[in-house]
């Protein structure tokens, strides 16, 4: 117990960085996932093929491998920029890798949402003279987002826990802090594991509560 109290600042710093990873990677995943799903349901065969290929490659690759790959690839391509000492090169790399990985799952959650919308909604939109883009943005996606809230919540919960993989390329997030403490306090490991588990559970609980709120909001307006 004492180890958690003594190192509270370090633990908190770790979880704050975890939350930053979650926020930025989550935003990338949402934007990229929405673009991907538009590709996947597009009337143009080439675009569908591009979307499907992305899903097949990214979803089928272990996250750790993607993080390592980006960690190795970016310096080769000459990209090693840091925005600040806090948002450093490894943080940016991990954020992009996590975001691109989660985007594949966001895309599929949204596609499940789109599939749950009756085909008549799209037919009505097209009959009014809407283009594919207009029909997607004003009729299909707003409804698909609502239907996709439960699978999206699962995706974001998985992403919150997957941020721990960033420790592999040296991002000082929560799992990194846990590893550090485990090395320093060999006798306090049960408490250390317990403390970090509680931290992740709180984050996941917040995501679930947010999703629940969104669902209730969406339920009112229909």
């Amino acid at each position: 117990m004492q180890v958690l109290i003594d190192n509270f600042g370090l633990i908190l710093d770790g979880f704050v960085k975890t939350l930053w990873l979650l926020l930025f990677a989550g935003l990338i995943a949402l934007v990229l996932g929405t673009l991907l799903v538009a590709l996947r349901v597009s009337p143009v065969a080439v675009m569908r093929a591009v979307g499907t290929s992305y899903i097949n490659v990214v979803r089928n690759t272990p996250l750790l491998l993607i993080v390592y790959l980006f960690g190795a690839l970016f310096p080769v391509l000459g990209y090693t920029a840091s925005i600040s000492s806090y948002i450093d090169y490894s943080f940016i790399t991990a954020t992009i890798a996590l975001g691109m990985y989660a985007a594949a799952f966001v895309c599929e959650a949204l596609r499940a949402g789109i599939n749950s919308i009756p085909v008549g909604q799209a037919e009505a939109a097209r009959s009014l003279g809407m283009t594919f883009g207009q029909s997607m943005s004003t009729v299909i996606l707003p409804q698909a987002f609502r239907a996709a809230i439960p699978p999206l919540a699962s995706t974001y919960i998985a992403l919150a826990k997957n941020t721990s993989v960033a420790l592999a390329i040296g991002v000082t997030e929560a799992a990194f802090a846990m590893k550090k403490l485990n090395n320093e306090y060999a006798t306090g490991r049960s408490w250390i594991f317990f403390g970090f588990a509680v931290g992740y559970i709180l984050i996941v609980w917040a995501i679930a509560a947010f999703a629940h709120g969104l669902e209730r909001q969406a339920g009112k307006a229909r």
């Binding site: 009337p43 008549g120 909604q121 009505a124 009014l128 809407m130 207009q134 004003t138």
Partner: protein, 258 residues
Amino acid sequence: MSDVQTRDSPDRTDSNLVSLRQVDKWFGDLHVLQDINLDIARGEVVVVIGPSGSGKSTLCRTINRLEPIDKGEITLDGQPLPQEGKELARLRAEVGMVFQSFNLFAHKTVLDNVMLGPTKVRKRGASEVKQQAMQLLERVGVEAQANKYPAQLSGGQQQRVAIARALAMQPKVMLFDEPTSALDPEMIAEVLDVMVGLARDGMTMVVVTHEMGFARTAANRVIFMDEGKIVEEETPEEFFTNPKSDRAKDFLGKILKH
């Protein structure tokens, strides 16, 4: 019934608004439309009837290319229907469509449903569109429901909103794909009343329906389809009192028996 005689008979040869030439369509092995030739004049009301599976809904849906055809040509106001894309979207904006299952946008209020086409597709100003939308809702008798969501309305009300939504685009022609088939009997009349009003106002209409009363009251022409072919094409009076084909006699015998 006397309406058929009193209505001005539109001149079919002068200006065909919709024209189908040797149209064929297959669903897999099923030859669902077989060599369809059909001309619809401006202001004409054409009722398409026939047993289920006869291709009448498919025929209706080919006119705004919700169903692409495999052979032949469809022209709308002289223009052939383009391939999927912006050109087709522009053409579809000129064609109103009313579905069996209403298909109102479930996440939008009744008023927003009616305003969406004019604001998004025609890019018109919201205040002007709103005024016109309210007038249309009044015309179909659901103005009191303007701020409700579709799920809060009865089927008959939803279908009348769907008609208002299509009219908001000021279409050249309205397609009705079995507009009353999903409705309770007491709601059918309120929808048909709106449609009869439209017909009187001179709207060009293609109506797939089983409502023989509507066909007699409002139609200029009845098209009887069976197994993907147009079997008979007559005035309602002639078709109902003196059907020529055995298939039509058999069909009318079955539906008019009760």
